[in-house]
Structures are given as C-alpha cells and as structure tokens.
C-alpha cells in the first residue's frame, strides 16, 4: 500500500464497493502514520457516500474533503475546491473516491491537467457478483468507458467480489478468475484482493495481488 503512488484514484462500476475500499484504504494509511486525505468525488450516488464516515476518519487525523455542512446532501453536481489542494500539496497521501461508472468518472475528467504529470494510481474495483461485471469482457468494457470519461488510464485492478456478510472464499476466487483474465488482456496488475475479515485469512497463497481485509464501515449495524 505504501508503494502505491501518492494519489490513489478509486473507480469502478456502480455498486462495486469503491467507497468501502477507499475508506478502508485511507484508514490503513492513517494508521500507518501517514498524513492521509480522502476526497469524496461521488456526484452520482445520493446515499452511502464516504462523507457519511467523515467523523470517524477525522478522529483518525484524516483530512476529509467533501461538500460542507448543509450541502452534504444537496442533489447538485458540485465539487469542493479543496480537491485541488490535495492534488497539488505533495505532503498528503491521497485517496480519491470517485462515483460509479463512466457517469461518476466524468467528475474526474476536470482534474486531468493536474493528474497527467502527477504521481497517481487509478484502481478499478471489480465485484463479479454484480450482474453487469460478471465477466472479463464486461469488466473490460467498463474500464474503457471509465478511462474515456476520466481522461486517464487505469493502473491496477482490485478484486472486490463479495456477497456482503455472506461472502465465501469461493466468491472471492470466482472474482479473482475474472480479474486475472482482465489483468492478462489489459496488461494491468491485480493490486488487491479484498475480503471481509472473517475469511481474509482463508484466501489461498499464490494469487495475483495482496489480500486486503475489509471492515464494513459503510454498512449500518442493522443492515
């Protein structure tokens, strides 16, 4: 994780688990002693956005850039100016949580002048249990759409195939087969294999990518 580029852009299909991955990632960064920041670029989803966990992250010393105060639930496609700070201030280790699909990635397109020479990774998060990204062909199509809207290239893949609290090792492995096939065809490395903590220890060795245990921060206790 510490070897990833300074700016980690998290994108993927709508509902692939980008936000949960992004929040876990930035919390891990902060816990490893880094000056960490996350920006919520999600202008597509109205609920379950990283800004909802602002309090938890700020208590860990993470800078959270998201619409302020009463605008937190404003249904408008506006982004805070502070995002530019994170892109330019090299003292920050940054996670950008981008909205889903090409529609969400379009918000990223405007930062292209800051990103093309900057030090960034763009991860594509994949959940093969989502009907629209169940095959490598479908995932590749999504990657192309997202890259076109974001105006930058993906640099890595994240297998986030799960079934929420019911996730089995087999779910993760089925997703891994899809993601490794995408990896071969697109020549993109598999960076992380996400798994809820209950099964993270059971993921077999020898797979492409590093096992990344996930805490379900975004899911309410009753859901």
């Amino acid at each position: 994780m510490l070897e990833d580029k300074r700016i980690r852009i998290v994108t993927g299909h709508y509902g692939s688990g980008k936000t949960e991955f992004a929040v876990n990632y930035v919390i891990n960064l902060a816990k490893s002693g880094k000056k960490a920041a996350i920006a919520d670029l999600d202008i597509v989803n109205p609920y379950f956005r990283s800004r909802e966990e602002k309090g938890r992250m700020e208590r860990l010393g993470i800078r959270v850039v998201a619409p302020e105060g009463k605008f937190i639930n404003a249904d408008v496609p506006a982004l805070p100016a502070d995002i530019n700070t994170l892109l330019q201030d090299e003292s920050y280790q940054v996670v950008l949580d981008v909205g889903g699909d090409a529609a969400g990635a379009r918000a990223l397109g405007r930062y292209y002048p800051h990103l093309k020479d900057a030090d960034y990774d763009m991860f594509i998060v994949v959940n093969a249990n989502r009907p629209n990204t169940a095959s490598s062909e479908a995932v590749i199509e999504y990657i192309q759409d997202i890259e076109r809207a974001a105006r930058i290239r993906a640099t890595g893949l994240v297998n986030n195939t799960h079934m929420l609290r019911e996730t089995t090792v087999e779910d993760v492995l089925r997703g891994q087969r899809v993601v490794e096939e995408v990896s071969r065809q697109k020549d993109l490395p598999v960076k992380y294999i996400c798994a809820i903590e209950r099964i993270a220890g059971q993921i077999p060795a020898g797979l492409a990518g590093e096992v990344f245990p996930i805490k379900m921060y975004m899911r309410p206790e009753w859901l």
């Binding site: 509902g15 989803n45 609920y47 639930n73 169940a134 079934m163 929420l164 019911e166």
Partner: protein, 353 residues
C-alpha cells in the same frame, strides 16, 4: 438463477422486466433515478419500451393509456413526483386498469430532501387521489422481498384490474443486497377482454372511462369497485410476526425500519427485555385483526416509523383500545438507530410498571 448483488432500484427494474412489464413511463427524481436509468438501458434489450415523459403527470397518463390497451405497465417516482401522479392514479382506479406504481420515499413535505422517509403512508393507504378508491400497497423490507412483491404486484393488479403501489423508503432503493428473481405463486388471471385493442369483429366496442354523469350510475360503479376492494381486503393481507410468543411489548414497524427494530429487539434481549414485532407487509389492506389478537399478549404497543406518526393510527384501530399504543419516529430524512428504539422501549416499560 444464482444470487447476485443488486441495489434496490436496479432490482425493481430487473424484476419488472422478468414479470413481463412491457412499458415504463417515468421521470427522474432522487432517490429512485437509478430505476429509470436501468429501464432506459435494459428495456429495449427485452423488447420493451422505456419512455422518459415530460413530467410525472404525463407519465401516469401514459400508464393509463398503455394499461387501457392491456399492456403490463409501470411507473416510478419519489414523494413529490408521486404527489403529481395522484390525479392519474384516481382515474386509473376509476377506470379499473391494472398497473404498478413504485414510490421510493424521501423526506417531505414539499421538496423536502433526498434522504429516506416513510411519511407518504397516509397518501398511499388513505387515497392520495380523490374519490372512493383503494389500492393494494406493499412495503418490502429487503431487496429480495422487493423483487418478490413487485413481481406479485403485477399479478395482483391484473387479478383485480386495479393499481398496485410498492413503497420503499429511499434506503431500500439505494441499499445493495443478494437477490434472486423468483416467480410468484401462480394466480388464475382473467383474460383482458376489456382492453381497447380493436373490435376484431367482436361486435361491441370496449371503452375505458371513469366518467359517470348520472349519479345513480356513478354510485352503482362505486359499489362495484367496493365489492372488489372487499375481495382484496379478504385475500391480500400480508404481515410478518416476529418474536411475539411472550413479549413485554410489541413494536409495529414496516419496511427498512422493521430491520432497525429487529436489531433493537436483539439488544433488548441481551438486557432481558422481550420485544415482539408485527410487520405489516401490505399497508393496505392493513392487518388490523392481527393487532387485536396480539393485544392480549403484550403490555403495550409501540409504532416506530420514519414519519411523525402515520401508521400508528392504524395500529390504534387494530389494538382497539385494549392496550396503550405509543409512537416513536424520526422524520425529514433522519433514520432511527437501534439504541434510540431500545431507550424508547425502556421508557415505556419503566412507566408501565
């Protein structure tokens, strides 16, 4: 079909297409916009038609037209948009046309906000439009139940020639859960021999209308509708009874709120308090008798809602004065948390001792 992960709004779309819905007329509004978006992408692939209308009023009248021609048809919106559709819903009920209307409820009144609410209960169950009409209103609590009830909803609509409403708070539209599309139990559906599909040598013309100038005729029509509503009341009640064997108190809650209540029930159990839940699944017809029956078992009832107290009125009608009925709610897009419900339960039981 194996289980897949779907958001509520997408799952509604997938279930409607699976149920043979051929037309979707709608207009975007948060928090249900993923549904028209899904339909715009998926309906053409299924040989069906998606049309974004110029307004909610136009959309519901397109539903009237398609339903009159005998097609399976659906519209969806969120609270302010559903208010706009009320006139059309009344006309559809008056003209005896089957259709499915989905309301993914947000905070109100007025424009309100985009966060979840259950404050359209009165509008849905007590006739948001004008006139003596009723419609079956189903309130699922999970994405799986949402797809099950949506598919069954089309059958219910066809069986009675009446609109059916599916309601969910905004969270149900946005939450993601494992789901498997399953066929509903088979019903014997009457042929749509009333549809305006051309006479085809039939000898008489089918007319779809809700206008009765002669009051005696209009009353006769209303009595015919009433007989139909009585049938629905007899046949279409759905509810869940949870942990009600020996309860200190019974909570009434529906939809997403019932899941928050179940977590509160577990927390109460840890503290030695036994709490039951009656979850109405059909909000109309409302399971009044179930509340009356269980009134003998509990000290008190508590209705928990994301509103300032709407279903609680029906709970009181059901309990029928046998036991005190309390209310706890959050509103405007705020969601109750289990600990607050536990505190409310303790307050009531403390006071009852």
């Amino acid at each position: 079909m194996a289980k897949v992960l779907m958001k509520g709004n997408e799952a509604i779309g997938a279930a409607a297409i699976k149920a043979g819905c051929k037309f979707f007329f709608g207009y975007p509004i948060t928090p249900q916009s993923e549904l028209p978006e899904y339909m715009a992408r998926e309906m053409p692939k299924a040989g069906a038609t998606f049309l974004q209308a110029e307004s909610e009023v136009a959309a519901i009248n397109m539903v009237y037209g398609a339903a009159g021609a005998g097609a399976r048809v659906m519209t969806s919106s969120s609270s302010p948009g559903i208010s706009l559709k009320q006139e059309g819903i009344s006309y559809i009920a008056g003209a005896e046309l089957p259709c499915v209307i989905v309301n993914i409820i947000r905070g109100g009144p007025g424009l309100g906000g985009i966060q979840p609410a259950q404050s359209d209960y009165f509008q849905a169950t007590k006739g948001g439009g004008h006139g003596d009409y009723k419609m079956v209103v189903l309130a699922p609590a999970s994405v799986q139940e949402l797809t099950d009830l949506l598919m069954e909803g089309f059958d219910i609509a066809d069986q009675y020639r009446n609109p059916v409403m599916i309601i969910g708070d905004g969270m149900l539209g946005q939450m993601m859960e494992p789901v498997e599309l399953r066929e509903p139990k088979k019903r014997n559906l009457p042929p749509k021999d009333w549809a305006t599909t051309g006479t085809g040598g039939r000898g008489h013309t089918n007319v779809i209308n809700s206008l009765f100038i002669d009051p005696a005729e209009c009353e006769k029509h209303n009595l015919k509708l009433k007989a139909k509503f009585d049938e629905m009341e007899k046949n279409e009640k759905k509810y869940e009874i949870y942990n009600c064997d020996n309860p200190d108190i019974i909570v009434a809650a529906y939809g997403t709120t019932s899941r928050i209540v179940k977590t509160a029930i577990d927390k109460c159990k840890d503290e030695g308090i036994n709490v039951g839940l009656i979850r109405p699944i059909s909000l109309w017809p409302f399971p009044y008798e179930v509340f009356e029956e269980y009134a003998d078992r509990a000290k008190a009832f508590l209705s928990v809602e994301m509103s300032l107290g709407q279903m609680v009125e029906d709970v009181k009608l059901g309990v029928n004065g046998k036991k005190p009925v309390y209310f706890y709610g959050r509103t405007g897009g705020m969601v109750p948390v289990p600990d607050d419900i536990v505190a409310e339960i303790k307050k009531i039981l403390g006071g009852a001792k």
